[in-house]
Every structure is written in C-alpha cells, then in structure tokens.
C-alpha cells in the first residue's frame, strides 16, 4: 500500500475517532479534543502532495462530489435543530436559514447525482450489511456484559448527595430560553 493510500485511510480513521471522542461526556461539556481531531482527519484525507492510487482515488473523488450536498445538509440540519422548539422556544432566524440550506442540499443532490431504480437493490444490500455488522456488535456487547461479574447493589443517596444532585439538575435544566 502506498503512502498516499495509507494517508486516506489514516485520515478516515482519525476523523471517526474524533467524532467518537466528541460524542463522549455530557452534552453541555463535550470532549475538548473531539472536534479538532475530527477536522485533522478530514484534512489528512483531503490535503496531500500526490494523488492516491485506486481505489482510494475513487473514494476521495466520490466523497468530494457528495460533499457538495452533504455540507449544506449538515449545516442546515444543525441550524434546524438549533431553531426548532426542542429544548427551548423556537428561534425563527436559524430555523429559516436551516430550512433554506436543507432545500439547497436537496437541489444540489438532484443536480449532481443520478438515481436509477436499480440503485434500490444496492441500498437494501448496503442496509443489510450495516445491520449485520451492528447485530454482531450488539451480540458481542451482550456477551461481554454477561461475562462481567455483578457488583453489589449501591446504597441510596444520602440527604447531602440528594441536595447536590438536585442542584446539578436545576443548574442544567432550569434555564431561561437561551441555549
């Protein structure tokens, strides 16, 4: 495997590890290195001195073509989630901009991609492949958990601990309508 092919796979691996790191921790304080590591991975995939060989060249080219609609789709989705009344009151500005970007993403998709009915079979096949991998993972997790010795039941919270948990909940849930 050439150095440039390895760089593409290393970039993909670093990007996925970065996204996973970002998902750890509570929602109000994400892992500080998650986003930078993910961006480093994307940069590793895209910026290179020489063109990678096939099949990596095809992978990068397909990813760049997909990015034309994926980028507005991702940004638009984020703005819609910020603007929608999920955790606070609806905020029309991000909601409208988000929907505009979602519309741009769909327009971009239909102007750059061609979908034929035969693709449906490949979609089903891809879905089955993903489901198989996830099913094996779930079975392995269940096996690992069954092999883990049970810990004794923990005692209930003391009054001091109960007050502390209550204060944490209040601080993080009893917010004004700002995010």
């Amino acid at each position: 495997m050439s150095l440039w092919a390895a760089q593409v796979w290393l970039g993909l691996a670093v990007a996925v590890i970065g996204i996973s790191m970002h998902r750890t921790g509570p929602a109000f304080r994400r892992h500080p290195f998650g986003a930078p590591v993910a961006l480093l991975g994307v940069a590793l995939m895209l910026f290179r001195v020489e063109e990678p060989p096939q099949p990596e060249l095809g992978v990068v080219a397909a990813a760049i073509v997909a990015a034309m609609w994926l980028l507005p789709a991702l940004v638009g989705s984020g703005l819609v989630l910020i603007g929608a009344p999920l955790y606070w009151r609806a905020r029309p500005a991000p909601l409208l901009v988000g929907w505009a970007l979602v519309a741009v993403a769909w327009y971009q998709y239909y102007s750059t991609m061609s979908v034929v009915p035969a693709d449906a079979l490949r979609w089903v096949s891809t879905l089955l492949g993903v489901l198989l991998a996830l099913a094996v993972f779930a079975l392995c997790v269940r096996t690992a958990e069954r092999m883990t010795p049970q810990e004794p039941e923990t005692e209930g919270l003391t009054e001091k601990e109960r007050k502390y948990v209550e204060s944490v909940l209040r601080r993080h849930l009893e917010v004004t309508d700002d995010p």
């Binding site: 993909l12 996925v16 590890i17 979908v115 094996v136």
Partner: protein, 118 residues
C-alpha cells in the same frame, strides 16, 4: 455471476466491513476505564476479515491488504449512496420537530412539587 449481482454483494460485504471498522474506531475514540472493548473488537474484526474473504473470492483475487482496501472502498461508496435516503428520513423528522410545541419538563415539575411539599 452477473455484474449487477456482484455490485449488490460488494455493497453488502463492503458496508458490513466499513461499519465494523467504524465500530472499532468508535471504541478506540471513547475508551475509558469502565470499557470492556476486547470482545466487541474481536467480533468487529471477524466481520471485516470475513467480508474481505468473501469479496476476494467473488473478485477472484488474493485475500490480502489490497482486497481489504477494495472491500472498504466499496463500503464507503455504498454508504455514500445510502446517505440521501437517511437525509430524507431526517428531513421528515426535522419537519416534525419544527412544528412541535415545547414539552413541559416532567423532571423540573417533580422537583418543584417535592420542594413545595417539604
């Protein structure tokens, strides 16, 4: 085997291998002292190796690193093709989220009632 069937099988084994690779990378990215990742990692690795073997048999090539690269590449291409379908589902969910009313938080209501009764 017809080329169409080969494409379908390639999408199946490719997506299974790539999803398992993502599982391994996600386990690495979220590693903590309470994790027991050995068995899930071995399971994911088995799926990757089996997928690569099946792809190599289908393509008539040796089961080596080149076959692994080709399998994972097929997986990336297959998942990229599937993304619009996922985005379609998300667009409907976003529509629902945009027109829903903000729910009353039952946890806060519980806290209020408990502090009021003391």
């Amino acid at each position: 085997m017809t080329p169409e069937l080969e494409l379908v099988i390639a999408a199946f084994v490719g997506s299974a291998a790539l999803t398992s690779l993502f599982v391994i990378l996600a386990l690495i990215g979220s590693l903590n002292p309470y994790h027991r990742p050995a068995i899930p990692m071995l399971g994911a690795l088995a799926v990757i190796l089996a997928s690569t073997y099946l792809f190599a048999q289908m393509a008539g090539i040796a089961t080596d690193s080149d076959a692994l690269r080709l399998t994972l590449s097929e997986g990336v291409l297959a998942l990229l093709e599937l993304l619009p379908l996922a985005f379609l589902v998300f667009t409907f969910l976003f529509l629902q989220a945009s027109f829903r009313k903000r729910p009353v938080d039952p946890l806060l209501a519980l806290l209020e009632s408990e502090s009021g009764s003391e």
